[in-house]
């Protein structure tokens, strides 16, 4: 065995990340269909053929990104959950939101339906996406529930608060090209969840 298998796997991982990293910027910029495989390849400095060694289709790249995004979002939530109270926790999410460019495309939920219905994405990944989304909502709901209970948030149905939160985060991206002070939406939004003093 002339090659080091571990090293090979590492390389594979690296390549995969390369692709995703560059793909996400393009997806965020131009959307799913307007982003060409060859754009991604060029940006990532490789041949377009090589991409098919790592992903079976463009849709699969996109699906992977949403998957990653949901997971990282959930992880971030969980991590913050260890040390923060609900209010601080969500403020942290909002504060870091625009740093998490990497994951933005994951919020292009617009396209999710296309992905879910696409033959070009394997079933496993599709199911993972559905599951992941539900988990995020569930986790957020739990946080809001606690926040409402301890008075950090105004009363209401926690699940509605959760969707409201996601809605505005989504809106943040959609409107991100407008010229308001960075992330004003997020903070404004959160402020509405605080009880008046």
């Amino acid at each position: 065995m002339a090659r080091n298998i571990n090293r090979d796997q590492e390389l594979r991982k690296e390549r995969t990340n390369d692709i995703l990293k560059h793909a996400v910027e393009l997806f965020a910029q131009k959307g799913l269909e307007a982003t060409k495989i060859s754009d991604i390849a060029k940006k990532a400095g490789m041949s377009h053929g090589l991409i098919y060694n790592y992903f079976k289709s463009k849709e699969e790249i996109y699906a992977s990104l949403i998957h990653l995004n949901l997971n990282s979002f959930k992880e971030q939530l969980e991590e913050l959950y260890q040390t923060k109270k609900p209010k601080e926790l969500l403020e942290g999410i909002v504060r870091d939101f625009d740093k998490r460019k990497w994951n933005e495309a994951g919020f292009h939920y617009f396209f999710v339906e296309q992905i879910i219905n696409s033959d070009a994405v394997n079933t496993e990944l599709k199911e993972a996406l559905n599951r992941g989304y539900d988990e995020v909502v569930a986790f957020l709901s739990r946080i809001f529930k606690e926040g409402i209970e301890n008075g950090e948030f105004v009363p209401g149905v926690p699940e509605y608060h959760a969707h409201y939160f996601l809605t505005v985060l989504q809106g943040t991206i959609v409107f991100s090209s407008k010229s308001l002070p960075q992330n004003i939406y997020g903070y404004t939004m959160l402020s509405y969840l605080y009880p008046l003093e």
Copy 2:
């Protein structure tokens, strides 16, 4: 003149509306890119060639819809402004929002950037879009300004309130496929703008 000119003009208007009416449903359902000209033609019960008699490209149809939407939105605002106070006014908007299916696609602002950069849309229309959007924001800001002054809304920068409002309306659509009670987002959102009693 062997034909009735007025009738012809009416016909043209009708056809234009036919196309827009069916296009908007498809755009709302599948987005800009996944909607094919031939889909629109089939749905509208005409040949694809005919569409090019009325619009020079798919993007132009889309742009027309946004344009119409902005205008109708602005008109609705202006009309309500005659008789309603700010709070009632915005509640009216939210209440009727899901009835205005026709215009929904106009809120797919996701694609607006593509439209704005597309060669397939004539410059005039592009400018109208930009202008229209600014006018809507300006009008909303004015409403919020009054609402803040008369105590109907919590204090804040009216323009931020306006963007927040639009953001959530936008989010409403993006998430509209999920199973929450209709338009919970909109009402939830507005509730955050009311001062506590």
Copy 3:
């Protein structure tokens, strides 16, 4: 009978000429395929549908023009033949050539093959074209024969002189956009056919 049949036929003739007159300019400018039926209609100030009352296809318009051109060319030859000697005769042709804009497209022999093979032209017309061309060559040959015999032209095969003459006339058109003194080609050409003094 409410309508005057003769008047109707005159009108038909006029319309036909209208179409041809405007078509020829476009064909001369842009060629056969690049000229659209609707261009011709617009230029002639009528609806495109009406053109089909007079010609069964675009190719037929083109074929008609060549036909007319050949005929008028032959007539001109025959008319001049009554009073002129060969040398004067051909000089007359050359001199008037650029005034005969009307017929220029008839010299776009480039497209003749397309016409001859097109289903959109009726057989009769096609045969007329072939016949017409042969007649022109025959007539020119006869003129050159006389001119050679009476010493007005240098010796040679009359038929070759004829083709040479047509060749350069054709070339004249092809190069007509270049900036040489009007019709220098024609005169230069003829000068080579004169014996030195």
Copy 4:
């Protein structure tokens, strides 16, 4: 690097030539407009899509051919110029003219205007065409000037002789489908430029 770059470049060159070689025959046969991309592809034994890998449009193929033709024509002139006197030189051009099928389309100057005005041809190429044509005329004029001076040609304006020469070459092609002895035009034409003995 898994592929042999040199081999790839050769391949690209070959393919480009393949396309041009087959395109020129079709253009010569049917003209610019009647030649479809798919005709070229079929004749060249490749998929139509591949052609777009090498040329951005049909017009660009055509323009390339004219460009090549002008260049090869100029080179031929320059090469012959090393060893031949003007008269011999031009006779050489005429003699070889029908062997140079490859370049024929370059003489379809008929279409050049369309090419020059087409968006589908890049500016650089257009300028090269204009430049190339002027250079050819200039070179020919110089040859005629010398030929006139040394008595090989009849007196006259060299530039006119040059245009006359090109005109007839052009005419040769246009009439090439007719049944005269091969290239009679060319020789006939040149004979008119020789002083009588």
